[in-house]
């Protein structure tokens, strides 16, 4: 994962231009293939915050730092928002640094969801603690007064799960998570196979004569 499908973007464009019905069919099949994983991932979202002081409450989302910059506050845990922002999509994303453009993907969009998903993935015991003395712009260290804050934060989230599909662009730990990666791991590759099969089938159908026949009429 991801599987490189050569000509997929062209196929989607061609479907849009020449066989919109087939394009809708592909979208439907992808929905069936990936919807289950999304539902399962959504089911893993805790109803309430695992940390009492992390619960969502009304507040201003930004503050101005010492340098006068408008900075976004640390996101709060809003389970409804997290659930809503776990989705699948067929809209191509921007190409990554390696030149791969994800066309079909499952995404966990919310900031709080991403934190819950990945906390402890890089530093299982929390980020190195420096306290208040460190550079405030350094986000790779803990600035908390509590040296164990990071560890406690992560422990409250519970186990992190390893995705079972090796990525051509991602290393092992980048496939770890508690929501979509967990659901993906438990799916065991069935959704992936179904999605690729759907693409293959639609491509074959599109290549068949009748679709071009319709176009040329």
């Amino acid at each position: 994962m991801p599987t490189e499908v050569k000509g997929l973007i062209e196929l989607k464009k061609a479907l849009k231009d020449y066989a919109p019905n087939l394009g809708e069919q592909l979208d439907t099949q992808m929905g069936i293939a990936l919807g289950g994983v999304v539902k399962k991932a959504q089911s893993y979202v805790l109803a309430s915050s695992p940390l009492s002081n992390w619960s969502y409450r009304k507040r201003t989302e930004f503050f101005t730092n010492a340098e006068g910059k408008k900075v976004r506050k640390f996101p709060l845990y809003n389970s409804a928002r997290i659930v809503k922002d776990i989705q699948y999509s067929g809209t191509p994303r921007r190409a990554n640094k390696n030149g791969f453009k994800a066309v079909y993907y499952i995404i966990n969009k919310s900031a709080a969801g991403a934190i819950y998903e990945t906390a402890g993935r890089k530093n299982p015991s929390g980020q190195p603690w420096v306290g208040r003395k460190g550079d405030p712009n350094d986000h790779g260290v803990s600035h908390s007064n509590n040296p164990n804050a990071g560890s406690q934060f992560i422990q409250a989230f519970g186990q992190i799960y390893q995705g079972n599909i090796e990525s051509s662009t991602k290393r092992g730990r980048y496939m770890k998570g508690r929501l979509i990666f967990r659901a993906w791991a438990e799916d065991g590759g069935k959704a992936n196979a179904a999605a690729l099969t759907a693409i293959y089938n639609v491509n074959e159908q599109f290549k068949k004569k009748q679709y071009f026949g319709k176009v040329t009429k």
Partner: protein
């Protein structure tokens, strides 16, 4: 930052993006425009541009070949390149410079063609342009292997260092052989090949249009033609006046011509455009025959729409310049052929099919559109009807299902009642049929058949029975007898209502001989003495000569008192005589009275012999 699981991705690096831009975006637009249709004017503009670009490129190519002494091979080279571009879907803009460079480097037709094929393979495998691949090969041929090494084909450093082009080429061939064919066989490659075919058709159309326009306007090149078109504005008023006069003079012909023009502008199909050109040619020839050639040619020479390629086509037709018309005719023929080739190529590629050719398509475009609309309406109607029928059928099924349920309920209820075996069998069979229980239904049907057979035999037997006897037939005689007897009874009852005189045989004292006989257990009658002799009596109360049978309680009371008086002193052993009364009727009442009398006697202190406790 979003967390993403990529399901399907495509490599779209910088090079890949550029390739995709060529292979997808432009291709998509071109094919879409070519196959589905765009504005005719826009297409004509594009065709002119394409033709101009190709013309320029070919001119440069010919010039290059001439400079290196291969002018003789121009046509062969172009044929080779044309086959390559159709086979692999590589555009002239890439292929011609690559071939030109290789030929310039190698100065050998065979080597350059071979290297062009290898360059195509390299380009397909490494996702680079053919020009880049050819450039690397050219440099390697000349001893500079750095570019070839940079291609990343895994060529050994020893070969690269040695500069042995043959060895390097061998390694390259081993690695890249078949890549171009494989790439051409992909979906993207197929679309690229279609694009090339479409471009060729477009260029042919553009060539025909430009040629026609130039001949009509007597221009020797495009610049001159543009100048004439610009100058048109100055004479527009005069031209339009002439056009008006020509139209009024030739209104009938112009009308038909206008129809064709309208068709050409309104139907956004390339093929229709081509067909329209053919129609225009036909009309123009007619006009020419009607000696309107010079007037129309003058009026339309600088048509305000002449800036467009489509107008060029119209221009040529309307101008009635023989050469222009012929050129236009030729161009439409070539365009038709190219489109036919295009459809043929698509068919060969497995992504399309010849739909009968562009011309044929154009001829029936309007009719087909109408037919399509009609078919769509019919299909819609059919779908609506089918949907309605499906709803009705569903409603019927639901109703029938309800009926079956009710029937089943009724059967179950009926089975609870007292039924004959045959009726139970029938109901059970029906229930089994409703429930779809085949095995049970079969079993019950067999039983029912057997039962029916038995019933049929019984009916036959009953039918063969003789007529039943009348059980009351003899009742008349019996009733008469009964009545007679009743009359006798009645008469007898009348009789017995009178006192009945009963003869009483008086007891007599046995003789001595009879008493001896009795003592010896002999029958006294055997010794010649009659009467019932039980004992002897010392005293005897005189009996009434007669007494009535008790008819009521009072009578019995009287009778009992009589009897009591009769037995006064009974039990006294002083008397040896026993009196026996033979009385007919009312024996039970008499016995009761006797019993009561004895009890009373016992209660009074007399010796009781009745109801004494057992011993």
């Amino acid at each position: 930052m979003s967390i993403v699981i990529d399901i399907a991705a495509q490599f779209t690096g910088k090079r890949a993006f550029a390739q995709a831009e060529n292979a997808a975006d432009k291709l998509g637009r071109t094919v879409k425009h070519a196959l589905i249709g765009v504005g005719v004017t826009a297409f004509a503009k594009s065709a002119i541009s394409a033709f101009a670009a190709q013309e320029k490129q070919l001119t440069l190519f010919k010039n290059s070949l001439r400079t290196i002494g291969f002018e003789f091979a121009t046509s062969d080279s172009l044929a080779f390149l044309n086959s390559l571009k159709l086979q692999y879907g590589v555009t002239d803009t890439q292929l011609i410079p690559a071939y030109e460079q290789l030929l310039t480097t190698t100065r050998s037709l065979a080597a350059s063609q071979n290297l062009t094929n290898i360059a195509l393979d390299i380009a397909a495998r490494q996702s680079i342009s053919v020009t880049e691949a050819a450039d690397a090969l050219s440099k390697a041929y000349l001893g500079n292997t750095r570019s070839v090494g940079a291609l990343g084909l895994g060529i050994s450093k020893a070969n690269l260092a040695s500069g042995d082009f043959a060895a390097i080429l061998k390694e390259i061939t081993n690695v890249t052989k078949g890549s171009a064919s494989a790439a051409a066989d992909t979906f993207s490659g197929k679309l690229a090949r279609i694009k090339v075919a479409a471009d060729t058709a477009k260029e042919s159309i553009g060539a025909g249009l430009v040629e026609a326009l130039m001949q009509i306007s007597k221009s020797t090149d495009i610049d001159q033609l543009q100048g004439k078109i610009i100058n048109f504005g100055n004479s527009a008023a005069e031209t339009l006046a002439n056009v008006g006069k020509a139209i009024s003079d030739n209104i009938v012909l112009i009308k038909s011509f206008a129809i064709v023009l309208a068709a050409a502008f309104t139907v956004n199909k390339i093929a229709t455009f081509i067909a329209s050109l053919q129609a225009i040619v036909k009309v123009v020839k007619t006009l020419r025959n009607a000696l309107l050639a010079s007037a129309v040619a003058r009026n339309f020479l600088f048509n305000p729409l002449g800036a467009t390629a489509l107008t060029a086509g119209m221009f040529a037709a309307i101008g009635l310049v023989t050469k222009g018309v012929e050129a236009l005719s030729d161009s439409t023929t070539r365009a038709t052929e190219n489109l036919l080739n295009l459809f043929g190529a698509a068919k060969a590629l497995g992504v399309g099919g010849d739909q009968g050719g562009a011309a044929k398509y154009a001829e029936g475009a309007a009719a087909r559109a109408a037919a399509d609309a009609k078919a769509a309406a019919a299909a819609q109607l059919k779908a609506t009807k089918a949907q309605t029928k499906a709803i009705q059928d569903q409603a019927k099924l639901n109703k029938a299902k309800t009926l079956f349920d009710i029937e089943q309920i009724q059967i179950l209820a009926a089975l609870q009642n007292k039924l004959s075996d045959d009726e139970k069998l029938r109901l059970s069979l029906k229930l089994a049929l409703i429930q779809g229980n085949a095995s049970e239904a079969e079993r019950l049907s067999k039983e029912l058949a057997a039962s029916q057979l038995l019933t049929t035999n019984l009916a036959t037997a009953i039918a063969n029975l003789p007529p039943a006897l009348n059980p009351f037939a003899d009742w008349g005689t019996a009733i008469d007898d009964i009545l007679d007897q009743l009359i006798d009874v009645y008469a007898w009852l009348n009789k017995i209502s009178q006192p009945i005189t009963m003869p009483i045989t008086p007891a007599r004292v046995l003789s001595a001989g009879e008493q001896i006989a009795l003592q010896k257990g002999l029958d006294p009658s055997q010794i010649g003495m009659g009467g019932n002799i039980i004992g002897s009596a010392a005293t005897f109360n005189p009996l009434p000569t007669s007494f009535g049978i008790a008819q009521n309680t009072q009578d019995f009371t009287q009778l009992s008192s009589d009897v009591a008086s009769l037995f006064t002193g009974f039990g006294q052993t002083s008397s040896n005589t026993t009196y026996v009364y033979n009385i007919n009727g009312a024996t039970t009442g008499l016995l009761n009275e006797l019993r009561n009398g004895l009890i009373d006697s016992s209660a009074s202190g007399s010796f009781a012999t009745i109801n004494s406790p057992a011993g």
